[in-house]
């Protein structure tokens, strides 16, 4: 009997101690992780909408489910939308800044899992694809060419930008 009880007790107590330790470390690091994420998100927002000094998160109903969050920039500069679409290897998450005139100010990939060397031709921030959308309206964005050899990835990217622009349009109408 003792042979069965002892291993169980030892294993259970090790599990307990480890879990307690993790809960403690989690409590310590959670605020730091939150702050770091917050900071990175703020930096990304300013990058795609440089005119705005501050951003206020707004809630709107009836937006497409792909839209994660939407922020309004200060000084009537425009909106920043975070969107995800299904790419080739998984979700592509982008952030897109749109001015009050309905033109794209900037786009940035936040995360993706596209194939290196193939899908990255579209989603990589250094690939040059994101610059093609800058300054374009909703209709012009839809006319941007996809990339040969990375069709699925670039289509998903384009779709994300189009959703972002139309979400802004929708919010602007409500605002006005």
């Amino acid at each position: 009997m003792k042979d069965i009880i002892k291993p169980v007790i030892v294993l259970a107590s090790i599990c307990l101690v480890v879990t307690a330790m993790l809960a403690y470390v989690n409590q310590l690091t959670q605020p730091v992780i939150k702050a770091a994420e917050e900071q990175a998100a703020a930096a990304a927002r300013s990058e795609v909408l440089p005119d705005a000094k501050e951003f206020i998160r707004i809630d709107a109903d009836g937006l497409p489910e792909e839209v994660n969050e939407i922020y309004k920039g200060s000084d009537n500069s425009g909106y920043v939308v975070q969107v995800h679409t299904k790419g080739y290897g998984g979700d592509i998450k982008i952030i897109c800044g749109v001015g009050m005139d309905g033109r794209v100010r900037g786009v940035k990939t936040l995360s993706h899992s596209e194939t290196s060397g193939v899908g990255t031709k579209a989603v990589d921030n250094n690939s040059g694809y994101r610059e093609r959308f800058v300054g374009k309206t909703k209709k012009e964005c839809a006319d941007v060419d996809t990339i040969t050899g990375a069709t699925i990835s670039s289509t998903a990217y384009k779709k994300a930008v189009c959703i972002a622009v139309s979400a802004c349009e929708q919010v602007r109408k409500v605002d006005a």
Partner: protein
């Protein structure tokens, strides 16, 4: 539906666990010498990947996430996988001894196979739905099998050839793996353009 096919094909060919993600290298190099053991090991991996996903996905979504315990993911998953492997072994031994005979020896190895833990974690971080997660696991397992079977063929050819002394054993195997992986890169463009 197209979505699921894309997930399946990309898991098998493009994001192949062994040849492009470097997961499960130990069994890939270790158990690929004979075709029969390569097939046995791969079947065991596919099997465990599927049941591991079927169990860990609901645990994460309905237990860990709502209770804000996401940080326990690694520890819970590895324990679940270890327990599942034990359980599967016992069940197989008791009820399907013939299957246990052919897969049994590979099962204990799988607990520490990074491909299994890898697929369960990736299914969560990729935000797959349950169906997508299962399809992804199946594809990853099939991809593992494809790489194993192909590579066991390559290795049997190496066996008979004249190799420089310092390349004998592991080095030449790795060089062969490099060439096999190079050939897999060709799939990248093919499948992506199939669906456009």
């Amino acid at each position: 539906m197209t979505n699921l096919i894309i997930i399946l094909l990309s898991a098998v060919f493009i994001n192949n666990y062994v040849l492009s993600k470097f997961l499960g290298i130990c069994p890939f190099l270790g158990v690929s010498k004979k075709l029969s053991s390569a097939v046995g090991m791969s079947l065991a991996v596919i099997f465990v990947m599927l049941i591991a996903t079927a169990v860990t996905w609901p645990i994460q979504k309905y237990l860990l996430d709502p209770k804000n315990l996401g940080y326990l993911q690694t520890i819970v998953f590895i324990l679940v996988i270890a327990a599942l492997v034990q359980l599967v072994e016992i069940v197989l031994k008791r009820y399907i001894p013939s299957l246990h005979k052919s897969l049994g020896v590979y099962l204990p190895l799988i607990t520490t196979n990074c491909a299994v833990l890898g697929v369960t974690i990736l299914n969560i971080s990729e935000n797959y739905t349950f169906i997508e997660a299962m399809v992804n696991s199946l594809g990853s397992g099939l991809g593992f099998m494809l790489a194993m079977v192909m590579f066991s063929g390559v290795r049997s050819t190496i066996e008979g050839s004249d190799i420089p002394e310092s390349f004998k054993g592991l080095p030449i195997t790795l060089v062969a793996a490099a060439i096999t992986s190079l050939s897999f890169m060709g799939f990248g463009g093919v499948i992506e353009n199939l669906f456009s």
